[in-house]
Chain length 445, copies 2
Amino acid sequence: MATKEEPTSNPVNPGKPVDDPSKDIVPETAVVTKVTQKKIGHRRVDASTGQTTYKKTPSSALSGSIQLAISHTVAGLSSKPERDVLMQDFQVVETIVFPSEGSNLTPAHHFGEFTFRTYAPTAFRYFRDLFGIRPDDYMLSISRLPLRELSNPGASGSLFFVTHDDEFIIKTVQHKEAEFLQKLLPGYYMNLVQNPRTLLPKFYGLYNVQSGGKNIRMVVMNNLLPSVIKMHLKYDLKGSTYKRKASKHERAKKNPTYKDLDLLQDIPDGLTLEPDIHNALMKTMQRDCLVLQSFKIMDYSLLLAIHNLDEMEKEMAAKNKHAQNFKKGYRAAQSVMDSTMLRTKYSKDLDHWSGGIPAKNGKGERLLVFCGVIDILQCYKWKKKMEHTWKSMIADGDSVSVHRPSFYCERFQKFMGDHVFKKSVVKSQPKRQRDLLPNESPRPS
Amino acid sequence: MATKEEPTSNPVNPGKPVDDPSKDIVPETAVVTKVTQKKIGHRRVDASTGQTTYKKTPSSALSGSIQLAISHTVAGLSSKPERDVLMQDFQVVETIVFPSEGSNLTPAHHFGEFTFRTYAPTAFRYFRDLFGIRPDDYMLSISRLPLRELSNPGASGSLFFVTHDDEFIIKTVQHKEAEFLQKLLPGYYMNLVQNPRTLLPKFYGLYNVQSGGKNIRMVVMNNLLPSVIKMHLKYDLKGSTYKRKASKHERAKKNPTYKDLDLLQDIPDGLTLEPDIHNALMKTMQRDCLVLQSFKIMDYSLLLAIHNLDEMEKEMAAKNKHAQNFKKGYRAAQSVMDSTMLRTKYSKDLDHWSGGIPAKNGKGERLLVFCGVIDILQCYKWKKKMEHTWKSMIADGDSVSVHRPSFYCERFQKFMGDHVFKKSVVKSQPKRQRDLLPNESPRPS
């Protein structure tokens, strides 16, 4: 039972074991047959060995070559002097060939000869710098120990890897997605600069491994959900109510990812935030959505995970208080909570939400909320073609999730403001007046 | 003699009276005949009336319509809520028709019906905001009192206007220049954000007045040279030595603009700056030049003007000490000097050089240096065609001013570092050691 109590961490689905791929490779959408479970997009799983491949490349070879190539190119880049990013940098692609036997530039390896392309190296270096990630840390996180492959990667057909220290997620992206990210970079840069608290994905690099005539493109991103913190609830929210309910299959999982309709039912009072935090969060979201809208991006989600501090305490009381696992988890959550609380005192300097946002639920329980906007690389124009646009528009008018970008953007924000994030009542009334108020529950001191 | 002692200010050529256009409209290049003095590019001067026209539009009508239209559009824009700049904003052009009789949107006027276009209004609003210019101040500066037309506008064929308060310069630009500035805007934005001390022109707006089938495009910029401060020397430096000497005609002026060869002769020791200031200035210039090079821009100049504080004191002593004019000028310079000195204490926060840079010349005299990079809108590709490329390349090999952008960029920086701005010797030696140094001139306490 030890694995159930303390599962190998899984950033997309924390608490879910990652050591049984054949069992877990199931798309998050409901209607899938046994056959498609083994092949989704370019991702396949060999039923007998459990080995995952992407475009027929074994995931182990892919992760090994990425580790080698990223650390090699980051080291090379860090020897170049820092300079400002120029418009032209967004279009640059650097190519290095890695022959198996090695060259005077590259080490020998056993992944088979491959060509490695780094997109916009100077721009991504600048982004990593803005995000406070030093070249050495980036290299070490990615290459010091093997990457862990996520066993529950969703319906996109992408492979997901997470670095040993839980810091970064590496995800395969399609040709069109990579192309779109390149086009997005100048606008992405502008948003980072103007809106540093942005909830958009933190992109740290875009790469392409080419071998045997196949191109496998990958993006390195932040890991939204620290695996050390237990997430009691997890949602993928689009602001739509059309079929936005987790499948039976999903609900049967240990840590399911719920959807919009589930949230309306489970958390009818929403999550209550302090007024300053609420304002900052809604403003940030508004700015993010404006950028997405301006690039005609839709169908993105808010990934929202909730750690319940009071629940955690109860769990601790119910279980053996001396269990090492719980103590560790609780201490980690407490220290995140403390530093978050500290940071909210300096809300002007609070330029990201990665430490979790303090909130309360309807029962007054203390929560830490982790959230970010995900799946932004699927541009409206070509995404539209892939989805059952006409069908769903006929079925449910305006509440379908594929609609014009400004509508999507507004509905997304409205849902988050109306149903998810609520502003707590201001406490700044004069004391005497407050004493006269009826129905005021005693405040814990 | 009063006008000579206290001339109406002229920001391009301070101290030069502006009230005699027929006398002053002379291009700064040497070889010009009497005929071209009256028509340079689209600019003409009627010999009998002294009236300037641009594309046959009288300058008075042009300046009047700009004032009306800019203040109208800025007021309109400031009613819209502030928001982040998006990539798409750089391409936006807003059009308003101003009929003479007025409309329900625009006031009546007597400049003849015209159409006014504002380029990238949201982006320029963001730039003005970055530069610390509030909408009301911008409007008032431009429209509260008539614009002054500069009588010594140079050989470009542009009209120059300066606002009554000396804050802004409005300059006509050619179609290609306006088009190029539009293309430059994203890169310009990136430079502003990354390199806030930039010496590049501060662009506050790009507009087009269309009337009678003619398009007159104008850019609003910062005025580099505060007219309240007397500039004792003024240079236009390109880092080239090929024919870079002020003409006899130019030298005969009261406040000539000298060139590279003149500087090498007049200020052989260059201008000495404190090490911190020197480092910051050279680094800023390097970053600016990299941006210009990346856009294949060349043939830009460093406009450099020197106010000599010690000279000013001597001038005061020589003249009547109680003369109001000198007192005023001295006080202004002193107050600029003081605030500049103050600001250098906080060099991290010193994000522009508009208050003048403290320096010394070879004689140890205290100076205030005003400088900025000008003429950046002439892109290499089409500029090349207009210049005598072949001729000058044959004549003087690498030292011609029209050459490939990276060469131009490097030569420019090298000249400024080798001949113009010198680093003063660090004073941080231990006191005892300093006392032993020979030839040390006594320091004023």
